[in-house]
């Protein structure tokens, strides 16, 4: 102990004497630490985002020599009836909303239940953890092709077995709503629940076992423990999972693109799907950028609302 105090005592004076110089040279340190991230952020996020606003104000096609100025027309047209994109765009926003509203609750609740099961000790636990996580590593193209044939209304396996079980067996899982939504949400839940489950699992393991022991001593039931220990302990994780899942669902594209092709009548064509058609296939980047900004604005608002809700809960 004494030697340590001595050592610090010895070191202190020189430290004090160079303090001024060190402070001056230290001025840049935090910025240097930030620089690599800052450069990437500015170069790959901020600058393109601002440039995107510029694009959205033009009749933009990056391949043509001229990009005529359009002002806010790209935005106004989306709200005008009878315009080329208005009705289609809002229809695609609606499709995105439907998908999000149905997939998010399932993707928040089911993985939690699975994580709690997988958090118990039982033989083969690691194996089951792998089983639930495995689909997540597959690309959307693989899962899409797989489910296109599983769900196919006339030659699909799902209807085949439903028929064997005595159901009608001709449910249009990929070609009519609402069945198509059931198919798309179902496959997405199967495909991505592993990711959320892993996050939950990590969160569950962070909750101190002593809290459960204390609750048990107080005679808490399993439900009491879940409500009063597990859920509060998982709050930050829940917020993370909810926000991430919301954004992921709102960005759904591949599933519709591969499985339904937007059928029927483009009612399962999501916003990102439509934006990619306009921007990448029709080479109308101006309109596509305007639509992206509207979608982004909506997502920012929803995320803010989300954070606000969780904070209020915390305060109360």
């Amino acid at each position: 102990m004494t030697s340590t105090t001595e050592a610090t005592a010895v070191e202190r004076p020189p430290a004090r004497s160079t303090g001024r110089r060190r402070r001056r040279s230290g001025w840049a340190t935090p910025y240097l630490f930030l620089a690599p991230y800052g450069v990437l952020f500015i170069g790959f996020i901020l600058a393109p985002a601002i440039y995107g606003i510029w694009i959205s104000l033009h009749d933009y096609n990056y391949l043509l020599p001229n990009q005529p100025w359009a002002g806010l027309n790209n935005y106004f047209d989306l709200f005008k009836s009878g315009s080329r994109d208005g009705a289609d765009f809002w229809r695609s926003i609606r499709a995105t909303a439907i998908f999000t509203v149905f997939s998010v609750p399932l993707l928040v609740v089911i993985p939690l239940a699975i994580a709690m099961l997988l958090n118990r000790k039982f033989p083969g636990r690691t194996f089951f953890r792998a089983v639930f996580f495995t689909p997540y590593v597959l690309g959307v193209a693989v899962v899409g092709v797989l489910f296109r044939f599983l769900l196919d209304p006339t030659i699909g396996m799902l209807n085949f077995y439903l028929e064997k079980l005595g159901f009608a067996g001709d449910y249009p899982w990929t070609t009519q709503v609402p069945w198509a939504w059931v198919g798309l949400v179902g496959m997405t839940v199967w495909w991505t629940l592993g990711f959320n489950a892993i996050i939950y699992l990590a969160g569950l393991q962070d909750i101190s076992p002593e809290l459960y022991e204390a609750a048990e001593v107080d005679g808490a039931t399993a439900w009491d423990k879940f409500r009063n220990v597990t859920l509060p302990g998982l709050r930050p994780v829940l917020l993370f999972v909810l926000t991430l899942t919301l954004l992921a669902s709102a960005n759904m594209f591949g599933q519709s693109y591969l499985i339904t092709k937007g059928a029927p009548e483009n009612s399962t064509r999501t916003a990102i799907y439509y934006i990619s058609q306009v921007g990448l296939q029709q080479y109308r980047q101006g309109v596509a950028a305007a639509m992206s900004y509207i979608l982004a604005l909506m997502l920012i608002l929803i995320s803010l609302l989300n954070f606000r809700l969780f904070r209020e809960k915390e305060e109360s």
Binding site: L63, R84, T154, D170, T174, T175, K261, E265, Y283
Partner: protein
């Protein structure tokens, strides 16, 4: 192209990123540089029949992801081994990605030296200056209008300049399941050729509990079937100057009604999924499928069931078959290297001269004399398609035409899925398409 192959060194990358101008450089990718040599196009002086210049490497891009890609690869490696001073590197992309990637690559100076495109994409890419006019190359190859079917030849021209050199014609034909025909008591060597025979065959199959003609609500192949029928019923997709969509004419409505009636009268199940019509044909649940020539190789290899190939039946009064054509194009490159252009011309010439080999991938050669050669006529299964070529229609050579066509595919989808009746689906799609055509005209001129 080289820039694409050389991996950016780490130091180089950090340097570029460090100069915050990197962001501006990115922004400048979309800049307004006027392409060099736009309008004039490269000239090939080597007459295309030989290449004697220094060694060059050509990057060749296409979208042949299926079995056709394997044939193309074989041909390219044969070319490489025969031609010492030209090396062709082939890159394959999904067609859906191809038309996004290539324009971007060309704009940033990393485009290929030679590429393949569909005939209906040529005007759009020409207007966007992704590809350059190649009249000089075509002249040096001594391409002759008389050697090609009219539509194939015309389709490579945009605004009086040639942009595409035709390789092949690929079109729709009638694929039918011979085993199912036998089961229904029909002659498996006599596929239906007109409406009466078609309906009689369907009726015979229906009595055996088989839904004989599945109608797909999707572009592949319902949308292609619709176009074929439209022409058969005397309709046209667009008016003469392509300022209006006309598929809601009487012929167009009759065509789509024929398809929806197949569903309504139980000759097709409702809600056919993507490609389910074709899968069902192969497993014997469907019997008559209006399918693309590109599937020929697959069905002739089947051992489980026998698939017959025939010309499309004439349901309407006239012959009408949907078709498309692959064409060679030369992408705009930053500095036009005459040796590369000459080597490219030589490769194009070599490939088209050997396109009877290419036909084995399931295509009809665009050069008529090749289509009539014994080399081609000995290929199993492709002859009915070759016979159809005079009846094949292509989309008009107008920039941005696929934007308008999408509306038509949407109408087919809505009507076949029973969401809307054929007439009103076609009418609202045609209105929308006419609006798109007007906007495109303003955009592309």
């Amino acid at each position: 192209m080289n820039q694409l192959n050389v991996p950016l060194s780490r130091r180089g990358f950090m340097g570029a990123a460090g100069a915050v101008g990197g962001a501006l450089a990115l922004a400048a990718c979309g800049g307004k540089s006027t392409p060099p040599g736009a309008g004039a196009g490269p000239t090939a002086s080597g007459a295309g029949t030989a290449y004697n210049g220094p060694n060059v490497t050509l990057a060749f891009w296409n979208g042949w992801t299926g079995a056709d890609g394997d044939y193309a690869k074989q041909m390219v490696s044969q070319f490489n081994s025969e031609t010492k001073n030209v090396k062709v590197n082939m890159n394959v992309f999904q067609w859906a990605d191809f038309f996004q990637k290539m324009p971007a690559a060309v704009t940033s100076g990393n485009g290929p030296d030679i590429a393949v495109m569909h005939i209906d994409a040529i005007p759009t890419q020409a207007a966007q200056r992704v590809i350059v006019p190649i009249d000089a190359v075509a002249n040096s190859l001594k391409l002759n209008q008389g050697d090609y079917a009219e539509a194939v030849w015309q389709g490579g021209i945009y605004k009086d300049q040639r942009y595409g050199i035709p390789i092949d014609v690929h079109c729709l034909g009638l694929f039918y399941n011979k085993d199912v025909f036998e089961k229904a008591g029909l002659d498996p060597e006599k596929p239906p050729t007109n409406k009466d025979e078609y309906m009689a065959a369907l009726e015979a199959m229906k009595s055996k509990g088989i839904q004989g003609s599945w109608v797909s609500p999707f572009q592949f192949t319902g949308g292609l079937m619709y176009q074929s029928l439209l022409w058969q019923f005397g309709g046209e997709l667009f008016n003469e100057d392509v300022s209006k969509a006309t598929w809601d004419s009487e012929g167009g409505i009759a065509a789509l009604t024929f398809m929806t009636d197949l569903v309504k009268n139980g000759y097709s199940p409702k809600n056919v999924g993507q490609d389910a019509d074709y899968v069902a044909l192969k497993n014997g649940r469907n019997a008559l499928n209006w399918q693309g020539i590109w599937q020929v190789n697959e069905v002739t290899k089947l051992t489980t069931t026998k698939i017959g190939l025939a010309e499309l039946p004439k349901i309407g009064e006239k012959g009408g078959v949907w078709g498309n054509s692959h064409q060679f194009v030369l992408p705009r490159t930053q500095g036009s290297d005459e040796n590369k252009v000459n080597a490219a011309a030589y490769f194009v010439n070599w490939f088209t001269q050997n396109s009877a080999d290419w036909a084995k991938s399931g295509k009809v050669p665009a050069v008529e004399s090749l289509a009539e050669s014994s080399e081609f006529t000995s290929i199993e299964g492709l002859q009915p398609f070759a016979k159809e070529v005079p009846d094949v229609h292509f989309p008009p050579a107008v920039a941005g035409i696929s934007d308008a066509m999408t509306a038509m595919y949407d109408a087919v989808n809505a009507a076949v899925l029973g969401k809307s009746d054929p007439a009103s689906a076609l009418r609202s799609a045609a209105n929308k398409a006419s609006q798109i055509l007007a906007q495109n005209k303003k955009k592309y001129g």
